[in-house]
Amino acid sequence: MEKPLTRHIKSGRDPLSLKEYEKTGGYNGIKTALKKMTPSEVIDLVKQSGLSGRGGAGFPTGLKWSFVPTKGDFPRPVYLVCNADEMEPGSFKDRYLLEGNPHQLIEGMICASYAIGAEKAYIFLRWAYKKAEAILQQAITEAYDAGVLGKNILGSGFNLELYVHSSAGRYICGEETALLNSLEGRRAIPRAKPPFPTTSGLFGKPTVINNVETLSWIGHIIENGADWFKKLGLNGEGGTKLFGVSGKVKKPGIYELPMSTVMRHIIEDHAGGMIDGYKLRAVIPGGASTEFVMENQLDIPMDFRSLKAVGSRMGTATMTVLDNKTCPVEFLHNIERFFALESCGWCTPCREGLPRIEKILAAIEEGNGKEEYLDILKYHTIYCGPGNTFCAHAPGAMEPLQSALTYFRDDFIRHINEKHCPWKS
């Protein structure tokens, strides 16, 4: 099975050095792009491939790149930002790539920068990824020494400066416009869109923000072509995907598999199924801000379209499994407490609504809940819906809540009626 992104990563070992990466065929993509393609040809290629953003939103990457102005009077320089602020609870796929094969990302960023005309690029890295920070700095130094970064890359006349910036630690910095504010040294609150970052982004200049996994593809796509990429997927959406599984499974970890691999297959076969004595109750498919998928829905393909059809979202495709011995109220409370604490405090429904939800869930979990609380929770899933808040943080927090109220209502009622958590007797 082809695993272009993770094939050469040796889990638990040192990352590939530049020389090792080159031996695997690395940095051929950039040679092809710089010597044989124009920037707009690179964009067209990525568009054709159908690559969609791996950060969770699934926006077509080539299309996003095409919004960057190239003609006429526009503010310069253009920036490329890699969103490596992986803080979605349950997600650890980007870390795997950063610690395992940093040059794959760097090559992708050089190609992407060339495509959009960026002269400066930043990797905005999660504060906790100290190991990845050191690895990236080392890799970047290697790249400068080898002449693939800096001035006149490989004699092409293309210049690129690449920096690693470590975040100060807040989850909202993973939201692309809050990331830009944080990178500028401002308070990390999101920006209203429009204007979009491709018009007014970092320092007010045209900016593209892409996920680590997305950018890691670019070198491969340039080298192997759009059709190759499309054929890697099983059902229309191209490429492979890094799937993560965590929870009470025998083999939690990262599995690179074709896009549209069936969820049950990933969990039961690749991740080995549940540990003895545990049963699977539900899965949140793509990080904490996605809806529960129940055991009887596990036969769906893991891709953006299919999950949307069952009222969920693939998000980062890092699955967290809820087992039958874990209290769903506690599971949900834990998630909502995270979202409440990570609210940036800018808009009212999120700032006040999420802590209210947290307090209610805490009360229910402790056995002090009332049935009216469920109505309040239900209302909040509408009140904090998309468009009603300033960014997607609160709507994301509502996704697990809303599906939990649907699928685990009986468990909530038990807590309320029995005045204690049935899982904690």
Binding site: E352, R356, A363
Partner: protein, 915 residues
């Protein structure tokens, strides 16, 4: 271009490039909102302004949009009164009420609270939350602002105003989620000169007026009047409110051409001189020149006056730049024009007349504050605006944003999209050039600075004119820095479409005013219309200059040994001329009659003192530095306070001299007289309605309909309900009964619209947010550019001497708190007045063996003053700045030369250093 949109079933034509909320507010449609503000634009934080938008005819449910962030579009269909948006808005209030303390009964904001209004308007009523509220600790923020963070609804207006609009740095937002906190990183006095506006900008009681707290009154219990600030020449419009004979507070009165939504701290908190114990309340007289005047009988005073005004006695009148136009006029009529003098320092008289002459004769516009805000380039010459005309400094800050906002608009970001504008253009600024003797707070805005003695600033200014038009007189021997600055400024001036040049009288140079005029003349010749703003010292400097009269200097220097009667109107002459000269002058007169409202050095040397009303107890016209005539009205009724100066002078005229057939018993009478005699104020009485105004046959009420205690207020004196005092001077009435129509813009005593009790109700008085008052902004502009005037260039006089070796030139330094007479008496302001100081560069300090913060004794013109040393490294060698006009400081005519031997360290300091 106009768009047609449908709101709640009706069609409206609206301006394009606006957002939906501002359009609805312009139309008088109630959309609840918090974070939007006319001057601050939209950010979309609070989510309260939600309305429903419909795709087309078939869309029955619509979707919620935030109206403040939604650009209007042709064919837009929205509803504000549908169940979905109403429920959503109520939910937003519910969210805010989760943590809001149940403070209304003890909160100063109650009754004037935007949060209360929005809670009622959205219909949220019941608490359905079983959990505790989050609380904060408060901070000490200085004598002006009280901090109560529990009440915060996190609308972010405070920091947006304080930092983004007013350029302040020490108020910020901290923490995240529902712990967001607004305050300073460390407790302490808020540094911005505009901090007082937080009181009105904050929709709840987080930031409240600390001076009001000392004598707190609910908004609905106040008797209000439209007024004008008397603490500088900008003439911001204010609202004054009183209860039980005590002036309680000053707040902003919107004037779209002048101050807009904001006033400075000096204007807001300087009013306590009206309530001061040093107010003169009773007439006084003295028996001999060696005594101080004391309270005596009316008979005693009558006898003195009969003598003083007897036929044949010559009456000399000294008017005042802080008294109203009508009061000065009345004195001028009583004494006679040839005997009327302006009570200002000699140089100041020359400068203000010079400025007025320039404005009356040149093809240049005297700009309003709004004009300055709209200019595309600012040149400031020799004025520290932050301290001499703070609101002009604030206007310059807004002008600096015109270039970036325009650039943002070109990329499709609307003007009102505040955050996106700032992200896009960041530190970009319109060109601002500042030339001054020392560093100023506005320096951070400047594209280029020029710190230099005034003499050289004049030379460079003349040079700029000659570079714009080579017909203007050139200047020789400029050094490289001077050349560079002149060339840069001239080039930018030539590219600007509406530049403004701001200078003023505070540095004491007529040359500078004329150099600025030359620049304007040159620009006119070049084909550019420019504006020229002259900052003046006092609230009616311009008004006094428009009347007849000579400089007081002539009086001081006259050779006559004795004179008869001197009448001094609202003026402490010891602030206008050297002490010895004033004493000599006063001794010349047999009878010195002083009319004033507060005790000062002059009143202690008067033969008769007649107490008069302050601006709060008087109706009068003041003319600001723009040349705009504006009127202030009585807050206190005549029978409960003191008469206006013009009324007293009118009575004196009628009783003793019969200058006018009838005493001016009503304001209309004197105002009409004045208009007839001085064509420069033509049109004033029509524009600013007089007593003939009637709206539905009713007068305009000064009190809200909720005014309480009407019958109890005086019950301790008389149980029977007293008659409502009559206001003979205006259409305003001292009662709660009056017209329900909105009053004309010059006569608004308080803002109220059904459902809007807070200052936000001002939106319904405006043609659009941040626009003009409906029916026109208050006041009448008296001076317009002489478009086709043929003018000659002024020749550089350049009489400023450069200092000789071993000598220093002392130049004036002004402070917003301290340099103005009346506000300095207010306790909260007094706390903020720094110790008098001298300002010099490090090298000079070293040569004088003084270090920063040392106290030194300095002798200037025979005055011994103790001052603190402060360092400013941009001040030229041999130039020393000295704070002027501080309370207890003697009058010094600056600039003046001083030998280094006359600057000594105090003994205290010398001792402490040797330790």
């Amino acid at each position: 271009m106009m768009f047609k949109i449908k709101i709640n079933g009706k069609f409206y034509k609206v301006k394009q490039e606006k957002n939906l909320l501002e359009v609805c507010l312009s139309l008088g449609i109630n959309i609840p909102h918090f974070c939007y503000h006319g001057a601050l634009g939209s950010v979309g934080a609070c989510r309260l302004c939600a309305v429903s938008s419909y795709r087309d005819e078939n869309d029955k449910s619509g979707r919620l949009i935030m109206s403040c962030m939604e650009p209007v579009a042709e064919g837009m269909v929205i509803t504000t009164d549908d169940p979905a948006s109403e429920k959503f808005r109520a939910s937003v209030l519910e969210s805010l009420m989760l943590n809001h303390p149940h403070d209304c009964p003890v909160c100063d904001e109650g009754g004037e609270c935007h949060l209360q209004d929005m809670t009622v308007m959205t219909g949220h009523a019941y608490r359905n939350h079983d959990f505790k509220k989050r609380t904060y600790t408060n901070q000490f923020l200085g004598p002006f602002i009280h901090h109560e963070m529990n009440r915060c609804i996190q609308c972010y207006r405070c920091v947006r105003f304080y930092k983004d609009y007013a350029g302040g740095e020490d108020l910020g937002v901290f923490s995240a989620h529902n712990h967001v906190y607004f305050g300073r990183s460390k407790e302490g006095v808020l540094e911005s000169e505009f901090s007082g506006n937080l009181v009105e900008v904050c929709p709840t009681g987080v930031f409240t007026d600390k001076t009001l707290k000392r004598h707190f009154t609910r908004k609905w219990d106040l008797t209000n009047a439209p007024s004008v600030c008397v603490h500088c020449s900008v003439g911001c419009n204010t609202i004054a409110g009183e209860r039980y004979g005590v002036l309680r507070r000053i707040m902003n009165r919107y004037n779209g051409s002048v101050n807009g939504y904001f006033i400075c701290d000096r204007g807001r908190f300087g009013y306590e001189f009206v309530n001061h114990e040093k107010r003169l309340r009773q007439a006084m007289s003295r028996k001999s020149k060696n005594e101080k005047p004391v309270v005596t009988t009316d008979e005693d005073i009558e006898n003195i006056l009969i003598n003083a005004f007897s036929p044949g006695k010559k009456i000399i009148g000294i008017g005042s730049p802080r008294a109203s136009l009508e009061s000065n006029y009345a004195l001028m009529k009583l004494a006679g024009s040839e005997n009327f003098y302006h009570g200002t320092p000699a140089k100041e008289f020359q400068l203000i007349r010079g400025a007025l002459t320039i404005l009356l004769n040149l093809p240049v516009r005297s700009p309003s504050l709004k004009d300055i805000e709209k200019s595309d380039m600012v040149l400031i010459l020799g004025e520290d605006l932050t301290h001499t005309a703070p609101m002009i400094a604030l206007a310059v800050r807004q002008a600096a944003r015109n270039l970036p906002v325009g650039a943002g608009e070109k990329t499709g970001i609307p003007k009102w999209h505040d955050a996106a504008q700032r992200y896009r253009t960041r530190d970009m600024k319109s060109p601002v050039f500042i030339a001054h003797v020392h560093q100023t707070k506005l320096d951070e805005l400047a594209s280029q600075l020029f710190h230099s003695p005034i003499h050289d600033i004049c030379r460079v200014a003349f040079a700029i004119a000659s570079l714009v038009d080579d017909q203007a007189p050139a200047v020789e021997e400029l050094n490289q820095d001077q050349k560079d600055f002149a060339i840069m400024v001239a080039n930018v001036l030539k590219q600007a479409k509406n530049p403004v040049i701001i200078t003023g009288t505070h540095c004491g140079s007529l040359d500078l005013l004329q150099a600025a005029a030359n620049i304007s003349i040159a620009l006119a010749a070049f084909g550019t219309k420019s504006s020229l703003s002259f900052v003046m010292p006092e609230c009616n400097s311009m008004g006094l200059a428009m009347l007849d009269g000579k400089s007081m200097e002539a009086l001081i220097n006259s050779n006559s040994d004795t004179s008869d009667t001197l009448i001094i109107l609202e003026n402490d002459l010891f602030r206008r001329a050297p002490g010895e000269a004033v004493k000599k002058l006063l001794n010349k007169f047999t009878c010195v009659l002083v009319l004033d409202h507060s005790e000062n050095e002059t009143t202690t040397k008067a033969d008769v003192v007649v107490p008069v009303g302050t601006f709060a107890e008087s109706t009068g016209t003041l003319i600001n530095n723009e040349g705009r005539a504006q009127r202030h009205y009585r807050v206190f009724a005549e029978e409960k306070s003191l008469p206006d100066s013009w009324r007293i002078l009118g009575r004196l005229s009628a009783k003793y001299r019969k200058i006018v057939p009838e005493p001016w018993e009503t304001f209309d009478q004197i105002a009409e007289s004045l208009e007839k005699e001085f064509p420069v104020v033509k049109g004033i009485n029509k524009k600013i309605n007089g007593n003939d105004f009637r709206a539905l046959n009713d007068k305009i009420r000064r009190q809200s309909i909720r005014f309480s205690g009407r019958t109890a207020v005086d019950a301790r004196l008389e149980v029977a309900e007293s008659k409502i005092p009559v206001d003979r001077d205006s259409p305003l009435t001292f009662s709660m009964e009056g017209s329900d129509q909105k009053s004309p813009s010059s006569l608004v005593p308080f803002y109220w619209t059904p459902g809007w009790n807070s200052p936000q109700s001002v939106s319904f008085y405006l043609d659009e947010p941040n626009g003009s008052m409906k029916g026109g902004d208050p006041g009448l502009r008296l001076i317009e550019p002489q478009e086709n005037a043929r003018v000659n260039y002024f020749k550089p006089a350049l009489t400023g001497e450069s200092s000789k070796t071993g000598e220093y030139t002392i130049v004036p330094v002004y402070r917003i708190f301290g340099s103005e007479e009346l506000s300095s008496k207010a306790e909260a302001i007094t706390e903020r007045i720094p110790k008098p100081f001298i300002l010099m560069n490090e090298k000079q300090a070293g040569m004088l063996k003084a270090a920063e913060n040392d106290f030194v004794i300095i002798e200037i013109s025979q005055n011994i003053i103790e001052v603190q040393v402060r360092i400013d490294d941009k001040i030229a060698d041999r130039i020393i700045g000295l704070t002027v006009n501080f309370p207890e400081m003697p009058f010094v005519d600056l600039p003046v030369s001083v030998r280094s031997s006359e600057i000594k360290l105090t003994e205290q300091n010398i001792k402490s250093r040797s330790k």
